[in-house]
Every structure is written in C-alpha cells, then in structure tokens.
C-alpha cells in the first residue's frame, strides 16, 4: 500500500477547532485523492462548513495539520492557498455583487495569470481575461448571463457563478459547500453530471445534503457528527452502517 499522506492532494490530520465550549471540529483526519469526489455529510451543525473554512484558510484550527499537495499550509493565508490551486464555493455565496458575472470570473483569471499590480493596461479590452472568463462561464452554463450583474442572478445562478470563478483558477482541488442547494431537481441533475465530469480535472471535497447526488457522485463518503468523523467509506458501506443510519440517515432509512 502506498503512503496515503503523500499521494493525497489534500490531507487533514487530527484537526480540531472549538468555539467556546463547542467542539465544531474534533480530531478530524481525512484525505482527498487525485481524481476522486469525497463527500462530507452530516446533520446540520455537524461542523462541515467549519472544516471547509479551515481547509480554505478562513478559520485557524486549534490543533492539527492541513497539507496541500504534500505541503503544510496550516498557517498559510487564504489567497496563498487559492494560488496553489484550491478553488472554493461557499454555502452562502460570496461574490462581488455590483459587477457583472463576467467581471467576477475575470478577477479569478487575473489572479491566476499573475500580478494584480498592473496599473496601465485596461481590463475591459483584455481579450485573454475576457475569453478565459467566458469559457469558464460557458462550462457552468452561464454564458447567457455573462453581462448580468451578480446581484441580479438567482441563488442557483450565483452558485454556478462561484463554481465558474473557482474553475477559472484551474484548480487541482475544489471545495464545494452545498452546491446543489436552491437548484431544483433539474439543476441538481445537471450539476451532478457536470461534477462527475469535472473530477477528472480536480479532486472535489463535496459537502451536500442531497443524498441522491452524494451517492451518485462520491467515491468515498465521510460522515461527520458533532465535529467527529463517524466513519469514512464507499457510498454502499456508509449506507449499510447501522451507526450512520442511527445518527444521520435514520429518518429515510
């Protein structure tokens, strides 16, 4: 067997984070391997978003270690992790609302292409920024909305736009926090197909409540309950596990 930590794109080791007396992340260890979709499920308040926040760099863990592509990034700021190829979408979308969808994506292209300390050349006539942004928008099916203000987009469209921004980074890892929420059944099915394709480009850590999507997509599933990892396994293993049924899947059996 190969060493997990060295082949994993993302490896989380013994991560803990408390908010006061509440242990939001409790000694979590998990890996994200190349080419896989690793779903993170758990009841509301289990600590899924908190974990994503620590991986992205917004929340500083109390203990433990996060490695991206073999490099310790536990103390690296958000933008440095993004530049290493870590793309992310938020549970509550976070966009520059007054500017167009295209401009939002162009910002990510600009970040990837190099320095933002360019003072002369106008962005609006920069074909390279524009073309790459349009390509990313086309991939998520937002071409028709490229000129719309981000503020005018529906919730579902905003999520798609966030994914487009993440794609523009040409990421090797994607953290997606409930990307299906607010999409409706048709949108979910479409995004499911899209993600199944996308995992060849980037490994995906997927937080999702839509169990159909999770079991259709995930190569492995980690169940989080009260900050702790209850188990990690294939979709079938997770579904068959009595502890998981009791803790989480109980209602719909």
């Amino acid at each position: 067997m190969t060493d997990m930590a060295s082949t994993a794109l993302l490896s989380i080791r013994g991560l803990s984070k408390s908010f006061g007396a509440l242990k939001a992340t409790d000694d979590v260890t998990l890996d994200l391997r190349p080419g896989e979709i690793h779903a993170l499920i758990g009841p509301n308040g289990a600590g899924k978003s908190t974990l994503i926040g620590q991986v992205a760099g917004w929340i500083r863990p109390d203990a433990g270690r996060i490695e991206l592509m073999g490099r310790d990034v536990t103390r690296l700021p958000v933008h440095r992790r993004a530049r290493m190829g870590l793309g992310r979408s938020f549970q509550v979308s976070s966009l520059a609302l007054p500017i167009s969808a295209r401009r939002n994506v162009m910002l990510a292209v600009q970040a990837r292409l190099g320095s933002s300390f360019r003072f002369l050349r106008p962005v609006r006539t920069d074909r390279r920024l524009r073309d790459e942004a349009d390509a990313a928008l086309a991939r998520v099916g937002l071409s028709g909305r490229a000129d719309a203000q981000a503020a005018e987009l529906s919730h579902g469209e905003r999520r798609q736009l966030e994914v487009a921004c993440a794609l523009a980074l040409k990421p090797s890892i994607l953290l997606l926090d409930e990307p299906m929420a607010g999409l409706g059944p048709e949108g979910s099915a479409e995004l499911t197909r899209f993600l199944a394709d996308l995992k060849r480009e980037a490994a995906i850590l997927l937080v999702e409540h839509d169990m159909d999507a999770v079991f259709a997509l995930a190569d492995r599933v980690t169940v989080l309950v009260q900050g702790r990892v209850l188990m990690t396994g294939t979709g079938a293993e997770v579904r068959a596990d009595p502890a998981v049924r009791e803790a989480y899947l109980g209602e719909d059996g």
Binding site: A56, W58, P77, V78, H79, R80, A82, R83, R88, F90, S94, L95, A96, L97, P98, I99, S100, R103, N104, M106, L107, A108, Q110, A111, R112, S115, S116, F117, R118, F119, L120, R121, P122, V123, R124, D147, Q149, C165, A168, L169
Partner: protein
C-alpha cells in the same frame, strides 16, 4: 471625457457630465477675467486644488472603501513641505546639516516630488497600521494619526507652531510666472486633470479591478487568490500622495501654511467633497468641491452659519441622492 474616447459611439451620460464639469472649471477664471473680477480666478484655483485633495481621498474612500478621516495629514504635510522649503530658501539657511546638507528651495519642480514623497511615506506608515482594522476602528485610527501630526505641528516652534509659516514669495516654476493668478490656476487645473486621468487609468487596469473588488467583497478577492491588504495599502499610499500634492499647491495659493491644514476639520471637508460629489465617481470631488466653495462664498456672505446650510445639503444628498451630485447629473454608475 476620457471615457468617451475609449468607447466608440455615443458617450455615456457620465462622460458628458465630466466634460461639462472640466470645461466649466476651466472657463470660470477666463470669464472672471473678462468680467474684470480677478478675485474669482483665485477662487477657481481654490476649487481645483480642493477638488484634487478630494480626488486623492476618493481613490481610498470611493474606489477602495477605506473611509479615512485623516487625509488632512497628507494635505498638511504637502503644505508644510512647500512652506518649509520656502522658509529656508527665504532665510538662506539649511533644512538640515547632517548627514547631508539640505537647503531650502523655491523651485516647485523640487518641492512637488518631496511633497509626494513625504505624504506617500506618511500614508504608507498610517495605512500599514490602520488597514489591519476595518469599519469604525479604521476611521478612528486614521483620525488619531492625523491628530498626532496636527499637535506635533502646533507644538513644534521652529516652523511657526500655531501661527504657521508664511510663504513670502510664491514658489516658482521655470519659464512660468506663478504669481500670475491665471497661470497658477492653469498649473493647479493641470495637476487636477492629471490626478483624475491617473485615477481613471489605474482604476480601469487590473489594479483597479482588484481594489474595487476589495471594496465590494474582500472574501471574494482573497478566494480568487489575491491578497486584499497590499492592494489596499498601495491605493492608500497613492491616495495620500495625490492629496499631499494638492496640499503643496494649497500652501502656495494661500501664501502660508498653518496647522489648520492638518486639523480634523480639514479631513472632514475633504470627505464632504467626496460624499457631496458622489463616492467613487471620477469627477465627484470636482462637483463636490465646487459646490462647497460656492456655498462658502455666497451663503457665507449673508450668514456666518453657512455650515448649517451645508449640513442640510449634505444630509439631503446622503438621504435622497445616494450617488451625490454626480448621481443627479449622470445617474447610476455603470459597471460592465
């Protein structure tokens, strides 16, 4: 107007409004001279210089969302550079003897770069600290820094303390007679247009895209891989430099510099130009400063409580015309 040139076809309403403002300010002193009212030439110069101070603040406040309540620091420092240089030139003595001998000068081509440098360094220092905070804290820290410089100027006797420093003869430019009011107006007007053009160019470039995203949503900017702090700090420094250069011009216009240029009242005034004119609008500070000076002049003539009227106007603008005067003239800002 520059915007109109960039776009083929019909110029936007804002471009038209900008062109009208630029031409009106240029025409004002010419008309004043024709009408035999030379006083209004200096008044136009005052508008141009105060507008430029606002253009500086607008870069930080309007485009970058950094609500600095300490821009008088840069304005005053620029003013003191002009005043101190002229003071030593007038007395034929040294500004410092060690480690290098520096004497005064009345040459604006030497004074301006020093004013830019001094205000830029001050902005770097103040910004580096203040930008670690946000919101009300940021406002208060910028205010505190400016007040420190203000009290230093008051208590430092070498340069006049509370009384300030006179500039007996207006500082000079090669080949131009800066004493001539119209010439000095054109110098100030040219500087203002350069500052506006500079703002327009850098806000259209990648730097501007990043800065404006930092204002709209810092989380988004960092998530795309751009660190907000250095972008904002750079903008803050450029902002301080523009306001500092305006301060140097202001000292020369008035023929003296005193600590009131550094006071929080002055910071508030510069902020009023920006808010009155329209936050983050290219020509907003021109409209704002013009209205401010006109109100000071005409309403100030028949009541010393003109500030009360100004307060009411400001309140109306903030409550009912969120885009300021530019919002009234040109409608909502256009983003593509």
């Amino acid at each position: 107007m520059a915007e109109a040139a960039a776009r083929i076809g019909r110029p936007s309403r804002e471009a038209v409004a900008n062109a009208v403002l630029a031409l009106a300010l240029l025409a004002a002193p010419l008309i004043a001279l024709q009408a035999g009212e030379p006083y209004y030439v200096n008044l136009s110069t005052r508008v141009a210089i105060l507008a430029m101070a606002g253009v500086g603040l607008n870069l930080a406040l309007g485009y970058g969302g950094m609500v600095s309540f300490g821009h008088a620091a840069f304005f005053g420092l620029g003013g003191y550079v002009a005043g101190i240089a002229a003071h030593h030139a007038f007395n034929y003595d040294l500004f410092m003897a060690w480690p290098v001998e520096l004497e005064g000068t009345n040459q604006l081509l030497a004074i301006w770069p020093v004013a830019l440098l001094v205000s830029g360094l001050a902005a770097l220092l103040i910004g580096a600290f203040s930008l670690r905070t946000a919101g009300v804290q940021f406002i208060m820290i910028t205010l505190a820094f400016a007040q420190m410089i203000y009290y230093f100027a008051i208590s430092f006797p070498d340069y006049g303390g509370e009384d300030g420093l006179p500039i007996y003869t207006r500082n000079a430019l090669p080949g131009l007679n800066t004493f001539d009011p119209l010439t000095f107006f054109l110098v100030a007007y040219g500087a203002l247009m350069l500052a506006i053009g500079f703002t327009w160019v850098i806000m259209g470039a990648r730097f501007g895209a990043a800065l404006q995203a930092a204002r709209m949503n810092e989380t988004r900017l960092a998530t795309t891989g751009i660190a907000p702090y250095p972008v904002k700090l750079t903008a803050f420094v450029l902002s301080g430099m523009i306001t500092g250069l305006a301060g140097a011009l202001f000292a020369d216009l008035n023929g003296f510099v005193d600590p009131s240029m550094l006071s929080w009242h002055r910071s508030g005034e510069i902020m009023i130009f920006v808010i009155l004119g329209g936050v983050g609008r290219l020509f907003g500070p021109v409209a704002g400063a013009a209205l401010f000076v006109l109100m000071e002049l005409f309403i100030g003539q028949w009541t010393e409580h003109w500030m009360l009227v100004l307060g009411l106007v400001l309140l109306t603008v903030v409550l009912f015309a969120s885009g300021g005067l530019m919002g009234l003239l040109a409608g909502k800002p256009r983003h593509d």
